[in-house]
Structures are given as structure tokens and as C-alpha cells.
């Protein structure tokens, strides 16, 4: 629900931001934008703070926790000791919640781990002040005024408009449906020299951005579908239900793309970037039709 109301679904292909020498491909808005979008929608107060020095960041976190606040943090994955070793890459845009402190350990609720975990203060400080692309700079955020009971129909419609605008009408060629098409062109032209090792890494990176980081590209499509269903239930606008099922099918097709790519990486299938580009183009087409339909449904709702 939160994901949908904050209009978090998107697509962006950002070749100028490099992660380990590979372009950034995002399937949703940055976490900070999601929280802010939600704040705008639900009318609650939220405060964001960043810090210059690690010491002051840690002191502030401790003070907030001692005051009984629930605090959200941005942190680099690599320095979080409770992460599985194979997933510890230098990726900075990870968000987690701290709900308490026990001596020198923080009590952490992380979307990656099923149960809550602990994290030592020293490790957390290092993770919060990790450097590099999307450096968190110790970002923390907490609620200042609680939300009021929202007007679901009004909020929902505004969120739908925002999302369709991002996907269909952004005047930038690397955002939304056009971003998917741009990525398809890039994939099509991948050089195959040197046995295609570099092309394999590029494709693998794409799939990792899609599936591994967060709950993934297809996962975000499913999440948005769930939002549409919930909204349909809350407002009685049944047309959204049908759209949710269509979006689930699109998510399935993103997963098929990931499977096809993985087979090429493992050399079960011959490496053929044009075939993957074709799949991406089909996905772009599907998503364009889907969001146009979503726009129509939103308009029909008005009358």
C-alpha cells in the first residue's frame, strides 16, 4: 500500500551513475523519495537528517532511540555484519529500521532478514558513513507527527496519476517506458568480443539490479499489483482488480527475462543479446499499454 501511494513504481536507466563499472538500473524511486511521497499523501510529519561526522551521527541516533523513537536509516550493505557474505557488495542505498538499543548493540528490523537482528554500534557507524555512489552520509529519519485517517479515493487517484506520468510522460529518454526501450537498444549493441565475458557480466548485472537488490523488478510489479487490489477493496472501484492481474502477468514476464538471461550466463543457451533486447522491447510495449489503460481507468473514476 505504501509503495503504491507514494508512486514508487518506475524505471530508470542511468548510465552515468556507475556501480562497480556498470550502469545503474532502477525499478523504483529512491527510498527517500518513497518515504517523502508517502508523507505527502498521508499528511504526517517526517524529519530527515544527515551528518558530517560519524560521531555526531551516532550520538544523534542514540539520543533518538533513548527518546523512544523508531528510526529509519540508510546504510551500506557491505559493512553490515548480519548480511549473508555473498550478498555483501558495496551498495549504499539500503534502508533499515532501528527500534531500540541494548548496551552497544542496536536492535534492527531489516527487510532482508526475516526476524529482527542486532548490530554493534561500531559496525553500524561504518555502514552509515560508507562512501561511494549514493553515499548515505548517515541519513536517518523519524516520524514527528502521526498520520491522520486518509481519504483513500483522492490519495489513490493522485498516486495513480503520478505513476502513469512517470512511466509514460517523463520528457527524459532514460526514464519510464522509454527508458526500457533505451536499455533494449543498449543490450542489442553489446559487444561480443573476448568470448562475450563482458557482455555476460553486463547482463548478469542487469538481472542483479532487477531481482536481487530489494525485492526486485518483477517483485515491485507484484507489489504495485497488490496496491491496486487493496485500493480496489478500499474504494470499491472494481476496474482496478482486473488491472492488478494484468500487472502480475507483466511481472511474470520480467522473471522470464531474468531466467533467459541466467541461462545465457551459465552457457546453457548461446549468448544472444538481441534476443534479450527483443524481450525488453516486448516488456516496454506491455507496460506502455498497461499504464495507458491505468490512465483511462483513473479518468473513468472521476465521473
Amino acid at each position: 500500500m505504501a509503495f503504491g501511494l507514494s508512486s514508487a513504481l518506475s524505471f530508470a536507466y542511468l548510465p552515468c551513475i556507475r556501480i562497480n563499472g556498470m550502469p545503474l538500473v532502477a525499478f523504483r524511486m529512491p527510498p527517500r523519495a518513497i518515504v517523502k511521497g508517502l508523507q505527502r499523501g498521508l499528511g504526517f510529519g517526517m524529519r530527515f537528517e544527515t551528518f558530517r561526522s560519524p560521531a555526531s551521527g551516532t550520538a544523534r541516533l542514540d539520543a533518538l532511540l533513548d527518546a523512544g523513537k523508531l528510526v529509519g536509516l540508510q546504510a551500506g550493505i557491505y559493512w553490515l555484519p548480519y548480511f549473508p557474505p555473498d550478498l555483501r557488495f558495496h551498495f549504499n542505498a539500503h534502508n533499515l529500521l532501528v527500534y531500540g538499543r541494548d548496551g552497544d548493540d542496536y536492535l534492527v528490523s531489516d527487510p532482508v532478514a526475516e526476524a529482527s537482528t542486532r548490530c554493534a554500534r561500531k559496525d553500524m557507524e561504518k555502514a552509515r558513513f560508507a562512501k561511494g555512489v549514493l553515499a548515505p552520509k548517515g541519513l536517518l529519519y523519524y516520524v514527528t507527527t502521526p498520520p491522520s485517517e486518509p481519504d483513500w479515493a483522492g490519495l489513490g487517484r493522485r498516486a495513480l496519476v503520478r505513476t502513469t506520468n512517470i512511466m509514460l510522460r517523463t520528457p527524459l529518454p532514460f526514464v519510464g517506458v522509454r527508458g526500457i526501450e533505451m536499455l533494449a537498444r543498449r543490450v542489442e549493441r553489446l559487444p561480443l568480443d573476448g568470448g562475450g565475458e563482458r557482455a555476460r557480466l553486463y547482463i548478469g548485472h542487469l538481472v542483479r539490479m532487477q531481482e536481487e537488490i530489494g525485492t526486485g523488478g518483477a517483485g515491485f510489479r507484484f507489489m504495485y499489483a497488490s496496491f491496486l487490489q487493496e485500493l480496489a477493496g478500499k474504494t470499491g472501484h472494481a476496474a482496478l482488480d482486473g488491472l492488478a492481474i494484468r500487472l502480475v502477468e507483466i511481472g511474470d514476464r520480467w522473471q522470464e527475462f531474468a531466467v533467459a538471461a541466467a541461462r545465457m550466463i551459465r552457457r546453457r543457451d548461446a549468448l544472444a543479446p538481441p534476443a534479450l533486447a527483443e524481450r525488453l522491447r516486448a516488456l516496454a510495449g506491455d507496460e506502455r499499454l498497461f499504464f495507458q489503460e491505468l490512465r483511462r481507468v483513473e479518468r473513468a473514476w472521476a465521473c
Partner: protein, 131 residues
Amino acid sequence: MRERDVPQEGNATLAGHRKAIYAVGEDGKLRLVPSRGWEVEEIVTRQAVEDLERRAREARERVLAGATSPLEYHMYRARMDLALLSQTTGLWRWRVRRHFKPRVFARLPLSLRRRYAEALGLSVEALGTVD
């Protein structure tokens, strides 16, 4: 994705963790279902890890052959690249690259060694060796 199709293939890179995934239940409603992992994710994660391990291995051989300094090996072992190491330490790239030369690295002052060790999460002694 149907609830019964949620992958439970035991992705080794998750190290026993489970992920929550939205899937369609019997009643047509989407709900959260725990997943033990998907083979595709394991393949791409292993690919990335193996690539980094390969770079570290190659750097290690070059260190033993006297062609580079242990710093380069430790950089790859910490899953970093030149850009990230330079940002983490606050040193210019050309300086970091210069410190890859064994001769320059050998007479690196302790303050710089500390800076690298801190950035890479190592002790100062470990920074000078390749095991």
C-alpha cells in the same frame, strides 16, 4: 506468480535467510509468501562474486611476481574498485594508483597505511601481506 510457483530452490547465497515475495493466492488476492530463493538469483550473484574473486586472485599473483603492491589485492578482496577506494580514503585516484607500485608502497608512511587499513577494514599489519 501463483503462490505455489514461488521459488523454493534454496539459493545458497542467501545463507538460509528467506525473502518475502508477493504472489497470487487461490482466491486471486496477492499476499506475501516466504521464498527460500531462486536459482536465477543464485546464478547472477555467484557470477558477480566469482568475478571479484578472480580479480583478487589475479592481483595476488601479480603481488607475488612483484608487479603490484598488496594494496591492489586487498582492494579487490574488499570488493572495491579504484573509484570506491579513492572515495573511501579521500585520496586522489592517481595517488592510489601510485601506491599500487611495490616500491612506493614499501615506503608508505604509517598515517597513509592506517588510512587504507581503516577503509578496507583491516589491521595495518594485514595490509602489508597477501594471505
